[in-house]
């Protein structure tokens, strides 16, 4: 194998994921970290780790390139988020004579401009949602305002990750929503260009995984469904999409392939579509990078997508994939986020005091958690992903439920209980959910049998008592086993 040394310009679970692939392939790897991440898990999966400075520096092209020079890296994997969709970064990497493990910079640039992506897709013959193909002027002209059908989406041209999007339900709401979208886009992408797009009602989110060698060979690796979203952030993803006819599935795959071939796509990418009630599908955007939800595709195809990216970057000839990729069984992923679902989904920070990750048949956990870890407010709230495989969708859901019940994170709040409630809802089980499902979803708080609840109350009071009165029972806080036995006896109501 050609000599390659991969620098992973990311953190968290995706950095661990990529570094694992490097280790498996025997490719030396380099991690980068900021001063708040000096004990982060991803460092421990790399052969070398380089400090790049303060917390914001994962976004610094200069610092990442400097780390590459220092470490002698020959290739850079950007992961997702941070610089992954920054065309200037991709270009700078290649100008340094390094390999960018991702699409060509010009592809990243075009797909990053949602308006350019819309125009290109329409030209290529893909169905595109009705909307403006040019930036919205500062003042919406009266002529245009009259033609708008409400509700309408205001979207940032430089958007991504669900940011810079607002829904206007009426002409009165439009100026405020345009303003809000511009403000968010300016803050997130330093570009306040926005455009309008019709709202596809009752839509499902279907996306297609493509892989190309940059020389015209493009393979379709099947679709995923990501309709369960909250505030336009995906929460649960699965493969394959349930209930699609073979014909419709082929049409969607073909559309993605057509676009991939027109772009002579290099590396891994996702073509995203919305599917309406009448089985019409519309192009939304291309994500020219590895995605958070890539493991569901890996579990139903048996492929390793990160390794495939690295092999293409090494210039290895692309293996041949079947024209129609047949998924084996079904896979479903839940995103474990640090947020308090009982307090308006506010981000939750704190120390991981206790951790038990799930395992067993058909379960994969991609995580950057460790016991003692401090979860701060500096980066996004994704802690881990639990991915379940089963011979069919109900079996995969069953396994996910079992695994989420096993997953214990002590010390901070997570969305595990909320996800459990979603996957236990009959509508989710039926597969008939749209991207607005969670807007009206009413979680049913599970009840606890009265006797058990009373004992839980007892345990809580005993623990509080112990914490507040360490002097009363010093043996509770430190001590040998027999001393803890004494504590146990004391905790016994009427032994």
């Amino acid at each position: 194998m050609t000599k390659m040394r991969v620098l992973v310009a990311n953190r968290g679970e995706i950095a661990v994921r990529i570094l694992r692939a490097c280790r498996e392939m025997g490719v030396p790897s380099v991690a980068v970290f900021t001063d708040v991440d000096e004990s982060a898990l991803h460092l421990r999966y790399a052969d070398e780790a380089i400090l790049i400075g303060e917390k914001g520096q994962y976004l610094s092209i200069e610092k990442i390139l400097e780390a590459a020079r220092l470490s002698g890296a020959t290739a850079i994997h950007p992961g997702y988020g941070f610089l992954a969709e920054n065309a200037d970064f991709a270009r700078a990497v290649e100008e340094q004579g390094l390999t960018f493990i991702g699409p060509r910079p010009e592809t990243v640039a075009m797909m990053g401009d949602k308006l350019a992506a819309r125009r290109f897709s329409r030209k290529t013959g893909l169905p595109v949602i009705a909307g403006t193909d040019e930036p919205l002027p500062q003042q919406v002209p009266l002529e245009m305002a009259k033609k708008i059908i409400y509700p309408v989406l205001v979207k940032a041209a430089a958007g991504g990750g669900g940011r810079g999007i607002r829904l206007a339900r009426s002409p009165e709401e439009l100026p405020g929503m345009v303003e809000a979208a511009r403000r968010e886009a300016k803050a997130a992408f330093s570009d306040d260009t926005v455009f309008l797009e019709s709202l596809v009602q009752q839509a499902r989110h279907i996306e297609v995984q493509i892989l190309g060698d940059g020389e015209g060979n493009v393979a379709c690796l099947g679709e995923r469904e990501c309709s369960i979203q909250r505030r336009r952030q995906k929460l649960i993803e699965e493969a394959p999409a349930s209930g699609l006819s073979q014909e419709l599935r082929h049409q969607i795959h073909d559309a993605a392939l057509k676009l991939g071939r027109a772009l002579s796509f290099r590396s891994l990418g996702t073509v995203e579509f919305l599917l309406d009630r009448e089985d019409h599908f519309y192009f939304i955007e291309v994500n020219p990078r590895i995605q958070v939800e890539h493991p569901v595709t890996e579990l139903v195809t048996g492929l390793d997508l990160v390794k495939a990216q690295i092999l293409i970057a090494l210039g290895e000839p692309m293996r041949t994939y079947p024209q129609t990729i047949l998924p084996r069984g079904a896979a479903i992923e839940a995103r474990i986020l640090a947020e308090d679902t009982q307090e308006g989904f506010l981000p939750s920070t704190g120390q991981v005091l206790y951790l038990k990750e799930p395992g067993g048949p058909g379960i994969r956990v991609d995580s950057a958690l460790y016991q003692g870890m401090n979860v701060g407010a500096d980066y996004d709230s994704l802690l881990a992903k639990v991915i379940a495989w089963g011979e069919d969708r109900p079996a995969a859901i069953q396994r996910l439920r079992r695994a989420l019940n096993e997953f214990q994170i002590g010390g901070l709040s997570t969305d595990i209980d909320f996800i459990l409630q979603i996957i236990e809802s009959p509508q989710f089980a039926s597969g008939d959910v749209t991207t607005t499902y969670l807007e009206t979803f009413q979680p049913v708080t599970p009840t606890t049998e009265p006797g058990l609840e009373r004992d839980l109350a007892l345990a809580a009071a005993m623990f509080a008592h112990q914490q507040r009165n360490p002097k009363l029972a010093p043996e509770l806080c430190q001590g040998s086993d027999w001393q803890r036995m004494a504590w146990k006896e004391q905790m016994t109501g009427n032994g």
Binding site: Y354, N405, I416, L458, A460, C477, T492
Partner: protein, 164 residues
């Protein structure tokens, strides 16, 4: 002897710890708790079942989170001493704006002495890439602004105080 009121949802349990004796709502209980580590991991033996629970005291010192089987039950625990501080805190809350989460102050679009309306944005706070507009809980005159843009704040920190 110590008396704790534990609330789960809206149900209250009065736990009396006195020497080796523990009662809940006046009744002696056949349950056993085994401490597995010092962080709060415990096994609760409830009849013939063993349930894994994790206990932690939260920042506000009154709230515990029990985790078992992936589920989370929030209990509010009050003894007589903390009941008093709670009342104090509630009074303070009406005249102050507290940080609902740990994060970075992005913007403070008001000044001391400003007259603000109910619902007006006072502070923009960012945590985990999510921005949150903190709005005035009531109309009134801003007495003190305790933070500025770029500052990191902990959950519960006083951000803005109003004139009484």
């Amino acid at each position: 002897m110590a008396l704790y009121n534990v609330t789960i949802d809206n149900r209250e349990y009065q736990v009396n710890i006195s020497g080796g004796q523990v009662t809940v709502n006046g009744e002696r209980v056949n349950a056993k708790v085994v401490s597995l580590n010092h962080n709060g991991l415990q096994l609760l033996r409830h009849g013939k079942r063993v349930v894994e629970v994790f206990l932690s005291i939260q920042d506000d010192d009154t709230c515990q989170v029990l985790m078992f089987g992936g589920r989370r039950i929030v209990t509010r625990i009050r003894d007589q001493a903390s009941a008093r501080t709670q009342t104090g805190a509630a009074e303070e809350r009406s005249s102050t704006l507290l940080a609902p989460m740990h994060g970075l102050v992005v913007d403070v679009p008001i000044h001391e002495g400003d007259q603000v309306e109910h619902g007006q944005t006072l502070v923009v706070l960012e945590s985990m890439k999510m921005q949150m507009q903190l709005r005035a809980p009531r109309s009134g005159k801003v007495d003190k602004v305790s933070v500025q843009a770029g500052q990191e704040v902990q959950k519960g920190a006083v951000l803005v105080q109003f004139e009484e």
